[in-house]
């Protein structure tokens, strides 16, 4: 896997730090995938009509008559007196829990308005936990746009769970990050084939399956945006197995290798377990890489997956990264991916969207990874785009999805070549 390692990676590349207008979702968005993963949880946002509208728009369609999330919309009278707001909240929660006895954990999710008026949801969660114990536990985290961007909402949620986890002295491996079940099962299978037992996941599907944590816990992150969760686990005495993130064949192998090393899995066992899926992954990537090879790519900051994905796309698919933007860069987490990313691209942190659009137009990349607000306008200018949000909604981790992951990036390019000369705004160029 190291035969094409570059002489220098991006670890020492100076970072372009920007502080201007951002075009990124807030952390509330994470609720869309978290509520699917945690089947006995309800996410109650305490916020405004804007927050409710964001959730609805990000979810795209209404999937269920009554999903396991909702917004307690603050009204004029709630702003006037916080005592009343707390009473109102207690009443809404009681009503909700009476109607939904299937709910075992309730997340009170803070928003910009609840934070600005200093509604203390941590206290409210304690109070409500007492009222509704032992049937329901109530936990608070913030998904507000003044504190969190997009995927940081999941981080805030998981970090809030960590102090609640029971203690253990058992030597256990904890996989951290909300993955689609199919992907999670694959990871578990690979690890148990290496004769690793005692594997737990955070978040668990149900509160009753929940893991414990302690000084003999080691944990591996499956998502690069879990900085606060990482810190919270370390505070509980757990130890982090740092590695590149499990995207692509190389990333998955390196990630598994780091865990295997921690548990003294011998090379033969490791090779026996991984050889076949590695070969499959390589072959599947190959098929897509034909389209991607030699093409340039530009990342707007969005999902926080940008650095690991740039590493995958440049090293395994032959793409050339022009700019890799991330909302924030947490070196303890993405350091290994930065090391592997061949030097060359601008590495940017934060955003000033108009300036970045200027840079993007000037660079004229073959493919631009950006949010949904920017995608059609850029397509209108003749640039091909990949929406970042799909990367967090779609199974993309580990070997069996490596080809699909490359395919997500190849499809817009394939479409462009199929529709050559057809783009309404690009006639002149033909």
């Amino acid at each position: 896997m190291n035969d094409q390692a570059p002489i220098t990676g991006c670890a020492d590349t100076p970072v372009l730090k920007e502080r201007g207008q951002r075009e990124v979702f807030c952390g509330l968005t994470g609720i869309i995938w978290l509520h699917r993963k945690m089947q006995d949880a309800f996410f109650l946002v305490v916020g405004s009509r804007t927050c409710a509208h964001l959730l609805q728009s990000a979810a795209g369609v209404m999937i269920f008559a009554e999903p396991r999330f909702g917004t307690a919309i603050l009204e004029e009278k709630d702003l006037a007196g916080l005592v009343d707001a707390n009473d109102e909240l207690d009443r809404e929660v009681a009503r909700l829990l009476a109607r939904r006895p299937d709910i075992k954990q309730l997340f009170l999710v803070g928003s910009c308005p609840s934070e600005v008026i200093k509604l203390d949801l941590a206290r409210a969660a304690e109070r409500l936990s007492e009222i509704h114990a032992p049937d329901v536990r109530v936990i608070n985290f913030s998904g507000s746009g003044i504190e969190t961007t997009f995927t940081q909402g999941e981080d805030a949620c998981l970090a809030a769970l960590v102090p609640q986890l029971p203690a253990t002295d058992a030597r256990e491996l904890l996989l951290v990050g909300a993955l689609p079940d199919v992907v999670e099962d694959q990871a578990m299978q690979l690890l148990s084939d290496m004769r690793l037992n005692n594997i737990r996941v955070l978040p668990a599907g149900r509160v009753t399956d929940e893991t414990a944590v302690g000084p003999n816990t080691v944990f591996a992150l499956t998502q690069p945006f879990l900085g606060d969760t990482h810190a919270a686990l370390i505070r509980r005495g757990a130890r982090h197995i740092a590695a590149p993130f499990p995207f692509g064949e190389e990333g998955t192998t390196a990630w598994l290798r780091a865990i295997a090393d921690e548990f003294d899995v011998d090379q033969d066992t490791f090779d026996r377990v991984t050889a076949a899926p590695r070969a499959r992954a390589r072959k599947a990537i190959q098929a897509q890489a034909a389209v991607l090879n030699g093409k340039s790519i530009f990342f707007f900051p969005d999902s926080q997956l940008e650095i690991p994905l740039a590493r995958f796309l440049t090293r395994e698919c032959g793409m050339q990264a022009l700019e890799v933007g991330a909302p924030y860069i947490h070196r303890d987490l993405v350091g290994h991916d930065l090391d592997l990313l061949p030097a060359g691209p601008v590495i940017s942190e934060g955003q000033d969207v108009d300036m970045q659009l200027d840079r993007c137009r000037a660079a004229h990349p073959d493919l631009t990874v950006c949010g949904l607000g920017l995608a059609n306008p850029l397509e209108g200018e003749g640039l091909s785009t990949k929406w970042a949000i799909e990367l967090v909604f779609t199974p993309v981790h580990f070997y069996e999805q490596a080809g699909d992951l490359a395919g997500l990036f190849a499809r817009p390019l394939r479409r462009k070549s199929l529709l050559t000369g057809f783009h309404p705004n690009m006639q002149a160029a033909e």
């Binding site: 807030c26 952390g27 009509r49 804007t50 009554e66 919309i73 607000g373």
Partner: protein, 509 residues
């Protein structure tokens, strides 16, 4: 505090965005946190716009709070002017910025920009999207339009169309053609497509066509008062409404209301033999007030449906909808609570819903066909083809749209005749729809074999229940309800095959 699952309307600043995005040469500087930028995707994804909405968000963060969010706003406003060089700027706050009370209007004024700066006060914790659009358009008109000499030829403004509106794009085209037929020129269409300098010359028109009261009524009233422009009260959706509208325009302009209606097909399509199956279909109508009012009239007078219930989500028009309900002799539901709407539909068990995308989902769940008549919009509400709602072509489009989810006339009879044939079985659904099957209404309502009525303990005997199953699914809900009502009225507590047919005879008209 109110628990909300799905909303029919966004916050008021989204209404302001609909106005700004529809216009040209206008920029909106919005004091808001980063997450609020999600609103861009409504326009770029749902409406497939190939330009970003002309909105600069300040995207302040927690660390800016105690220090200087006001400064951030001023910088954003100056930069937006320098970069986009708009003819005018509107400034305002989203829900979070409203709480930090920075006064965007006052701040923008201190910049001394050489263009009009229009401050918006949109109370985020009281009002919603339609109010935001209406108020924003009103403020823009109030700031920019002035009394003027009228055009030599009879002309009007078309007001109300915005970005992200339900079929606004095509309504403008259809209405412009209709007015042209009468000899009326269109002076300005606004907000959609208008620039601030177009707004400035709105006073030249002889009158205004208020196309969507939801988004332009305040402006219409102001222009009536200040610019001496009367405005039309009928929204020309449906055949009757279009003719009334033409008569209204004729009364204002002294022109003839006679226009070429040779392309109007709805009346014959409704009268032809195949449409017999439409007669008396019980429909529930829900959406914004304008489209609900128009649809109720079309449903009753132009399709021969029976209106089983109506409702709207925009409270501003509650009185109109209640009055209409009274006239139709049905209850009217004024609510923006999706779960309440669902409950009412479940209770009424209509044979069809005319609603929004939200009701389409309710319909899917309950197995009731639904046609979409109103915003909130979905990507499906922006078809590539021409499909207006207003005027004669609009009436044709509405006929097609409404019958699309239904089983067609002859097909309905075949289903009845061959109900045991595998090709025609109950759950096959309309033959022109692939894939999904409508659910069995009766089965959806009662999963248990034996049905207990809440009040009178009425049960369905096995044979009667089998007989009920033989009734085509699209009328089964009604048959079941009627039979149960009949049984409890007669004090019968077991429904036999006899009871079923007695009830049928009783309700036969």
């Amino acid at each position: 505090m109110k628990l909300t699952v799905w909303t029919y309307e966004g916050p008021p600043h989204v209404g302001a965005m609909r106005v700004a995005t529809g216009m040209k040469g206008l920029h909106y500087v919005l004091h808001a946190p980063q997450g609020d930028t999600y609103a861009d995707l409504l326009f770029t994804m749902i409406e497939r716009r190939d330009h970003r909405p002309p909105v600069t968000y300040t995207t302040f963060q927690a660390r800016d709070l105690g220090s200087d969010t006001a400064h951030l706003f001023k910088d954003a406003c100056q930069q937006a002017y320098d970069r986009f060089k708009p003819e005018a700027i509107i400034v305002g706050a989203s829900c979070t910025a409203e709480l930090i009370q920075d006064d965007p209007g006052g701040l923008a004024e201190t910049l001394g920009l050489p263009i009009p700066v229009i401050p918006l006060e949109l109370p985020s914790y009281q009002r919603k999207e339609n109010f935001g659009a209406d108020e924003t358009f009103f403020q823009i008109v109030r700031h920019l339009a002035r009394p003027m000499e009228k055009t030599a030829q009879v002309s009007c403004n078309i007001i109300g169309p915005t970005a992200l509106g339900f079929r606004h794009r095509d309504d403008i085209q259809e209405l412009t053609a209709l007015l042209f037929d009468m000899g009326v020129q269109v002076n300005v269409v606004a907000p959609m497509g208008a620039s601030p300098s177009d707004i400035a010359r709105m006073g030249q028109a002889h009158f205004n066509v208020l196309l969507y009261p939801e988004t332009a009524e305040a402006a219409a009233r102001w222009m009536e008062r200040e610019l001496g422009q009367p405005f039309t009260k009928t929204v020309p959706i449906g055949v009757g409404a279009t003719r009334d509208f033409l008569a209204e325009v004729a009364a204002i302009t002294s022109l003839s209301p006679q226009v070429d209606d040779s392309r109007l097909r709805l009346p014959w399509w409704s009268s032809s033999v195949d449409s017999t199956y439409l007669t008396g279909k019980r429909v529930f109508i829900f959406g914004d007030a304008t489209h609900v009012k128009a649809s109720a009239r079309i449903a009753r007078d132009e399709m021969g449906f029976e209106v089983a219930g109506i409702g709207c989500y925009n409270r501003e028009f509650a009185r109109d909808i209640r009055a209409l309900g009274k006239e139709l002799g049905v209850d009217s539901l004024i609510s923006d609570d999706y779960l309440e709407v669902e409950r009412v539909i479940e209770e009424l068990q209509p044979e069809m819903i005319l609603g929004t995308q939200m009701e389409r989902h309710i319909g899917k769940r309950l197995g009731i066909p639904c046609a979409v008549i109103s915003a909130p919009v979905h990507v499906q509400d922006f078809p590539a083809r021409y499909s207006p709602q207003v005027g004669f072509e609009g009436a044709n489009v509405i006929f097609d749209t409404w019958i699309h989810p239904l089983v067609m006339g002859l097909e309905e009879h075949l289903l009845h005749m061959f109900r045991d044939d595998f090709e025609f079985h109950d759950e096959a659904g309309p033959s022109h729809h692939g894939g999904h099957m409508p659910k069995d209404i009766a089965a959806a309502a009662d999963p248990q074999k034996t049905v207990l009525l809440e009040d009178g303990n009425v049960i369905w005997l096995d044979a009667a229940e089998r007989e009920l199953k033989k009734i085509p699914f699209f009328v089964r809900g009604k048959a079941k309800r009627n039979t149960e009502k009949f049984a409890s009225e007669k004090g019968v507590n077991q429904i036999s095959v006899e009871t079923l047919y007695e009830a049928k005879a009783h309700y036969a008209r």
